[in-house]
């Protein structure tokens, strides 16, 4: 039981994700990002499950908490699974230009309004981060308390959040006028001037991955493959 939970994620990591990363030539970046993202949550998992999980083999005790071998095994399993998830998604994110993804979704029939929202998000997030930094600096200059008691810091939430959101609401005005002036509301089909490069082999690989996904889901539901804990 304890072994089964490791095999499948390890297989996916070793058989699909790592070769893909090597082919794409970004193994180092991929590993770095995945470790950074997974580490905090893995530490949390380790503390909670090693100390909190009941088990027969007690390793050591800290205060009222006893560390068990079963907890260590469970933590390792969850951490491995999360790491594989992070790796797979990072491989996708680093090799796929988000704008290309969104444009291709629209080409395949997703509503242009939806794809506009997705594409605009790509610009909006860094812009909002920039704005948040500006606001934070401005409020600090006006004496925002970031060091004091919890109550004082809680009172800082509104000065930080408020300008960002009110600014965004005002932005909506200008942007929707600009869009409407460019026939955003016009019904009917759109013509995209760009299509992502595609090949026979990529198409075959996509179908293969889709089939693998279906097989995985069916296998898990019917109990052929081990269920996750």
């Amino acid at each position: 039981m304890a072994g089964a939970g490791f095999v499948l994620p390890a297989l996916i990591l070793g058989g699909l994700v790592l070769p893909g990363a090597v082919v794409a030539g970004m193994t180092a970046r991929l590993l770095r990002w995945s470790v950074i993202v997974t580490l905090p949550i893995a530490i949390s998992v380790a503390i909670v499950s090693i100390l909190g999980r009941a088990g027969a083999t007690v390793l050591f005790m800290i205060g009222p908490f006893d560390a068990t071998l079963e907890g260590v095994a469970f933590a390792a399993e969850v951490a491995l699974r999360l790491f594989v998830v992070a790796m797979a998604l990072a491989l996708f994110g680093l090799t796929t230009e988000p704008r290309a993804l969104v444009a291709d979704l629209e080409r395949r029939g997703v509503s242009p309004r939806l794809t506009f929202a997705a594409a605009a998000t790509l610009d909006a997030v860094p812009a909002m981060a920039e704005r948040a930094r500006t606001i934070q600096g401005a409020q600090r200059a006006r004496g925002l308390d970031t060091e004091g008691s919890v109550g004082a810091r809680l009172r800082g939430v509104l000065p930080l959040v408020g300008p960002a959101i009110l600014g965004a609401l005002h932005d909506v005005e200008a942007r929707s006028l600009a869009l409407e002036a460019r026939a955003f509301d016009r019904p009917g089909p759109r013509h995209l001037l760009w299509a992502p490069p595609d090949s026979e082999r990529q198409r075959a690989a996509r179908w293969l991955l889709l089939a693998a996904l279906v097989a995985l889901v069916v296998g898990t539901l019917t109990g052929v493959l081990p269920r996750l804990p």
Partner: protein
């Protein structure tokens, strides 16, 4: 009318699903997750979809159009959604890092869209927000590969915020006469009490704080508030006291604001936020337990550990943790949005599809 039928369809679908699969069988091994936990999640999500389809189908039959749904997605809303997602992604990080307070605050944008544009737009924002977080920003500093499992929770928050906005919960009610104010507070307290009593406490019923450190095998379950304090482990005592102090401070701050402004709206928003928090905790906890072994990587994970040590199995411990932190977080977020909407210029807010309904026509 359509809403009633859709709600009925959702409930029926959930009940049929639960009956068909027999989800809530007690797990044979209390140490592991009940096999039905993830299934229950799935059923709840499926029931939501069924409810939505029923709603859309009935509207189609009645009017041959999807007017009430598409109306929520006008140009203005479509423009607001990306900004709202950016608010979700960025503000959570900024507030947490700048002020060092243990709040998620990652649903301000979702709630904002829900209130201003409507329930469906809110739900769409929540969904898109968590999907973008995972798939559009993977590999960048903003990305988080662990957000997508919670997309359904974000959708639920947006949906509820939209419904509350439609019901006018976010309207400002300044200078309410004292008698009415008092009555409102009493009703709110009763509602909150009922929420705590029926929504939260049952999940702690099996928790026996008297037997810590016994490896989590508590057999005689009890929630005895009056047991001698000496028999409780100091760790739990500290947690309990800290929690009570936090609660008391919140109530006092609220009361002061209430009396100073005599604004009954605050009371409504508080109740709505707490209700939303309880629902999201119920949906989110199985996901956290199943996918992440019960943690979210934030400070609240310590509570999971404490509850587990007190004898709950993992899933129950996660639920108990969520039921403490989620209502508090959502209540604060709702209050923040409420304060912002009062601060925003009416010229801006009333132009959104649900804006006038949500803000009300009374001058603040």
């Amino acid at each position: 009318m359509r809403v009633v039928i859709a709600a009925t369809a959702t409930v029926v679908a959930a009940v049929v699903g639960v009956l068909a699969v027999g989800v809530f069988e007690p797990s044979p091994n209390p140490d592991q997750l009940p096999p039905g936990a993830n299934l229950f999640m799935f059923l709840l999500a499926a029931a939501l979809v069924v409810g939505f389809v029923a709603y859309a189908a009935i509207e189609w039959l009645q009017t041959r159009r999807f007017e009430s749904i598409t109306r929520q997605f006008d140009t203005r809303t479509i423009v607001l959604i990306p900004l709202a997602i950016a608010i979700n992604v960025v503000l959570g990080q900024t507030v947490a890092s700048a002020l060092k307070v243990p709040l998620y605050l990652d649903s301000i944008g979702t709630i904002l869209v829900g209130v201003l544009a409507g329930p469906f737009a809110g739900a769409a924002t929540g969904l898109l927000s968590n999907l973008a977080w995972t798939f559009l920003f993977a590999g960048t500093p903003f990305g988080s590969p662990f957000a997508w499992p919670f997309a359904i929770v974000a959708a639920e928050i947006g949906l509820l915020a939209g419904l509350f906005g439609y019901a006018g919960v976010f309207r400002s009610r300044p200078n309410t006469p004292p008698g009415k104010l008092l009555a409102g507070i009493v009703v709110a307290l009763v509602l909150l009490g009922a929420l705590v009593w029926y929504g939260i406490l049952p999940h702690y019923a099996k928790l026996c704080a008297g037997q810590p450190g016994s490896g989590g095998s508590v057999t005689s379950g009890c929630l005895d508030l009056f047991q001698p304090i000496g028999s409780i482990d100091p760790v739990f005592l500290v947690v309990a006291v800290a929690f009570l102090v936090l609660l008391a401070v919140t109530v006092i701050v609220l009361a002061v604001r209430l009396v100073a402004r005599r604004d009954l709206g605050v009371v409504y928003v508080t109740v709505a936020g707490a209700a939303c928090g309880v629902v999201s905790a119920l949906i989110a906890a199985p996901i956290a337990a199943y996918v992440f072994g019960g943690v979210t990587g934030s400070g609240t994970d310590f509570l999971v550990l404490v509850f587990q040590q007190a004898g709950s199995d993992l899933r129950t411990a996660v639920l108990q943790q969520s039921l403490i932190s989620d209502p508090i977080d959502k209540t604060i977020t709702f209050l923040v949005v409420y304060a912002l909407l009062r601060g925003a210029s009416r010229r801006v807010t009333v132009r959104f599809p649900q804006g006038e309904r949500a803000i009300g026509t009374v001058e603040a």
